[in-house]
C-alpha cells in the first residue's frame, strides 16, 4: 500500500496526497481534450438546450406564466455559484434537495407546470446549464449540525459493502483508486463534473445515474434517483471532495 501511495504521488504531483484528485486527472488526454473545449464537449449541447428552456415559456405552462428568465434574469449572474452549494437544506421542508430536485420544484411551484422527470433530457439540460455557471468554483456544501445526520447516512452508504461482489464505494474509490479494474482506471469517484457525458453511455447522465451504475457493477440493488439515500450520498461525496472545483459539464470514459 505504501508503495502504491508513492507511485501515485509521482503520477499526480500536482495534488498533495491528502487533497482530493478529480476524475479528470485519470482520463486519457483525448478525453480531457473533449472536456476542455466547449465546441468539442459532447455535453455542451445540453447547456444550450438548457438556455432555451430557461429563456422561453415552459411547454404546457399556463398562458402568461413566468419563465426562469422572467424571475432570475440571466443565469450567468443569478446562478453563479449555486450548484457549488448543493445539495442543500430546503428551509421550507428541512429536507435535503439537490439541484435536480430544486429545479423540479421550481417548475412545479413557480411555473405551475409538470416538472420534467429525473434523468429526462430537459432536466439534465437545466441542471447542466446551472452547474456550468459554477465552473471553476470550489465545492462548498453546507456543514455543521443541521446536516450531520445526512452526512452520517451518506458515509454509512459509502462504506457499506453491498451486492454479490461484496464491495463498498470506499473499497474501490477510497482504497484502490489509481488501479485498473479491467479497462477503467478507478478514480477517487468525485462528483464535481456532473452531469457528465460518459463515452461508454454515449450520452449525458446525472450523478444519481452514476451511483446506480456503480451499484449494478457490484450486482447490488440500486436506490431510486432522487431518493434520500442518494441525496445523503451526494452530500457526503461533495463534502469528501472539498477542495475540488466544478468542471460541469464533464466528459468521462
Amino acid at each position: 500500500m505504501q508503495r502504491l501511495v508513492l507511485v501515485l504521488a509521482l503520477l499526480f504531483p500536482a495534488a498533495a496526497l491528502s487533497e482530493p484528485i478529480s476524475g479528470y486527472q485519470f482520463m486519457e488526454p483525448s478525453t480531457r481534450q473533449l472536456q476542455d473545449d466547449d465546441f468539442l464537449n459532447p455535453a455542451f449541447f445540453l447547456v444550450e438546450r438548457g438556455r432555451q428552456l430557461w429563456d422561453g415559456a415552459w411547454p404546457g405552462a399556463p398562458e402568461g406564466a413566468a419563465s426562469c428568465q422572467s424571475c432570475h434574469g440571466a443565469p450567468e449572474s443569478s446562478m453563479r455559484g449555486v450548484s457549488a452549494r448543493y445539495p442543500a437544506l430546503d428551509p421550507a421542508t428541512g429536507k435535503l434537495v439537490n439541484l435536480e430536485l430544486k429545479i423540479q420544484s421550481e417548475i412545479a411551484r413557480k411555473l405551475s407546470a409538470e416538472p420534467p422527470q429525473y434523468e429526462s433530457a430537459d432536466l439534465l439540460a437545466l441542471t447542466a446549464l446551472i452547474a456550468f455557471q459554477s465552473r471553476g468554483m470550489p465545492l462548498d456544501v453546507p456543514t455543521g449540525e443541521k446536516v450531520a445526520g445526512w452526512l452520517a447516512q451518506g458515509e454509512e452508504i459509502y462504506t457499506t459493502r453491498r451486492g454479490q461482489l461484496n464491495l463498498s464505494c470506499q473499497n474501490c474509490h477510497g482504497e484502490h483508486w489509481g488501479q485498473k479494474l479491467r479497462g477503467d482506471t478507478i478514480s477517487q469517484g468525485h462528483s464535481n463534473a456532473f452531469p457528465i457525458f460518459r463515452l461508454i453511455w454515449d450520452e449525458v447522465g446525472s450523478l444519481h445515474r452514476m451511483f446506480s451504475w456503480c451499484m449494478e457493477a457490484v450486482r447490488a440493488e440500486p436506490y431510486e434517483y432522487g431518493s434520500e439515500e442518494y441525496l445523503a450520498l451526494e452530500l457526503y461525496l461533495a463534502d469528501r471532495g472539498r477542495g475540488l472545483t466544478i468542471e460541469s459539464p464533464g466528459v468521462r470514459r
Binding site: G163, Q164, N166, N171, E175, Q179, K180, R182, G183
Partner: protein, 128 residues
Amino acid sequence: MCLLPLAANAGDVSSVPLTSTPGDPARGQDIVRDTGRASCLICHAISAMPDRDQGTLGPSLDAIATRYTEAELRQRIVDARTLAPDTIMPPYYSNEGLVRIGSRWAQSTIYSAQDVEDVVAFLMTLGD
C-alpha cells in the same frame, strides 16, 4: 438450482471437488476472461493470456499453481472471506451475509459449482 454445499462449510468442501465432472481447463479459461461474469481478469492479470485491460487490484496469477494446491484455490474462489475476512475478492460460490444483492442476481451465486471446478482446473495449468 442446488446450492447446498455453500459458505458455512466451505472449509470442509474445498479439498473435495464440488461436482463429479472433472474441471475443464479450456472452459475455465473462457470463464476467467468473461467480463460479463464479474470474473478474475477484472482484478488480476495472467500474462500468458492475450486479453487486453487486465486488472491490477489483486496480485498477478502467474504460476499460481506453484504457490497453492487445488484445494486452496478452490477455497479461495468459493469464498475467500473464509481465509481473509476483509478481502475485496468476491465470494464466487456463496451469497452468505451479502447485503442488497440485486434481484437479477439474488437467485444464484456468481459461479455454479461446475464453473468453480473449471476455473480451478484452468488455474492448475498455470505452472512455471
